[in-house]
Symmetry: C2
Subunit: 338 residues, 2 copies
Amino acid sequence: MSTKPARPTIRDVAIRAGVSMTTVSDVVNSKGRVDPATRERVLTAVSDVGWRPRRSARALRSGRTGVFAMCLPLGHVGVGDWLTNAEYDMALVAACAAATVDSDRQLLVAPRPTDVRDLARLDVDGVIIADPREGDQALTVLNNAGVPAVTIDRDIQRTDGWWVETDNTGSTLQVLDHLTAQGAKRIALVTADAPWAWFEDTSAAYARWCAEHDVKPQVRLIDVERPRATAAAGVRSLLRLKNPPDAIFAIPYGTPLGALDAITESGLSVPGDLLLAGGMDGQMLQVSSPPITAVDLRPIEMARAAVDLLARRVSGEKAVGPVVIQTELRVRESTSRR
Amino acid sequence: MSTKPARPTIRDVAIRAGVSMTTVSDVVNSKGRVDPATRERVLTAVSDVGWRPRRSARALRSGRTGVFAMCLPLGHVGVGDWLTNAEYDMALVAACAAATVDSDRQLLVAPRPTDVRDLARLDVDGVIIADPREGDQALTVLNNAGVPAVTIDRDIQRTDGWWVETDNTGSTLQVLDHLTAQGAKRIALVTADAPWAWFEDTSAAYARWCAEHDVKPQVRLIDVERPRATAAAGVRSLLRLKNPPDAIFAIPYGTPLGALDAITESGLSVPGDLLLAGGMDGQMLQVSSPPITAVDLRPIEMARAAVDLLARRVSGEKAVGPVVIQTELRVRESTSRR
DNA sequence: TTGAAAGCGTTACCAT
DNA sequence: ATGGTAACGCTTTCAA
């Protein structure tokens, strides 16, 4: 009279197939020790009763949750201006999700754990921290708790080797060489003075390149809260120089548009009078007039590499140093002279 | 000699505090039956031994995983053109994550389950499907398996009431009234002929409004694979009419830019000769020249409402019909006549 | 106010 | 090739 609408367990499957729970377990875990015929019967029983594994039971038994967490940079909830772009972050999330699923895991999206209380809510095998800030507190918390973590982009205070990063130096040199090849003699840099590896590496590479090419470095720093407006201001001041630049490399997202604003209002044109390149590609640079050459930071490759690296760290491997992803320069009209 | 580096359990806490496991459990779950002094001792022991709950053990015992999954529309991995925008999706994800954490749950990001095999990997209390397609297969799969689900946006084949949606009709009327108030007499609609509630509701509201205001409807349909280019083509054909429109409402993301392309190349100006409004706000519309008036679809509110609704469905409440979120019109230069 | 013990679904180990 | 059973960490029930 009283039915049993409870979710089926391997016990139900075992009874249905006339085998033991062990055998069912072996079948669904592809342990090779079962007779093909038995295997067939079990599989049929599985779909007959509609059994799905209970991840929590597996996790309890095996000590592995099969879950990675991803902690995104900031809120994204009510951002006004843009230093980074949502396409990049969305690509990170989507690619991480895809990669974790490929390795039969699941991806949790969570706020950064700032103390032990947060950690309590985060019972996972490992954590991916995107865009860590200098000496990121989340990392400290995780390390103290013994939770394996990797970061996407380098925390400039860290040296443990557990991160993936883009080849910022290489991409900077590539841009500078490209601009030079298109005829630029005096390339200025628009960037931010903030403790992220992206900015530090870029600035360092620029300085070195200038020294090696006997070019006078011209740098303008923006306010990360208002990239477009402050970039425009910086470029305006550059254009007022006796010897103004003939090319601009603007790193933070949003700054190439600010540079374009300043150039246009000076009555100059891109790429006619100045060349312009951006440090981070995105829709806005593709649809501007003219479309702006920019560095593709390859979020998808970064994400896949991060999942892969975390899987290795979780399984106890030793660190072999950071994974470096090569960027790709998307050349567009803003740097194309004919 | 042999240490025990294993992760502490409530047993360790209990021993340390000199109480039973039951008492520890009661303390950490805020069941009110423990003596304050005992409680204090237990809490101290918890932080002394560095105990964190094992979600899987709790889940196994209680039958609730405490996890919601979110399934995003598509790949986001290598999209070329844009019918929707990453900012919107990113806001959905971030807000869902925040809301699930607020209710002491966790948010999984996963691909849509297309069959039972996918479901096996998705052992969660409930699922949020963003942007369902007509008769979304994922919903069928979930329903068959008895997994509670809600959608963000309405699946036009569904009537169960378990979804949140924007007030598409209201927002359309608001835009049309706004354009009229700014002097428009002949408003054309650029939209897509695709089975999403967003398009269907908008078209219906437009048709009804035209009928009621004795205006001849002018609609151009775009190809969802190439919104910008096909919108431009559509608007070009509108401008060639004997009696061309003096305002355009372009719904899918990307189409307002296409409209602007066509208008500009005809030597006309916005908002001088034509008014232009977009159906979905985003960065590209904010930075275009001129900035384009658009509907803020309020992804953050949608996400929070979805989490809330799913929590209710999971806890066995009856459906009370969809949750409707009011949109907000972001008025900008493209529709501002002085 | 507190404790002992059963049991959640699964897998690992040891038998057969 | 297959089965029995203990154990994973926790909450719940029942008893004290």
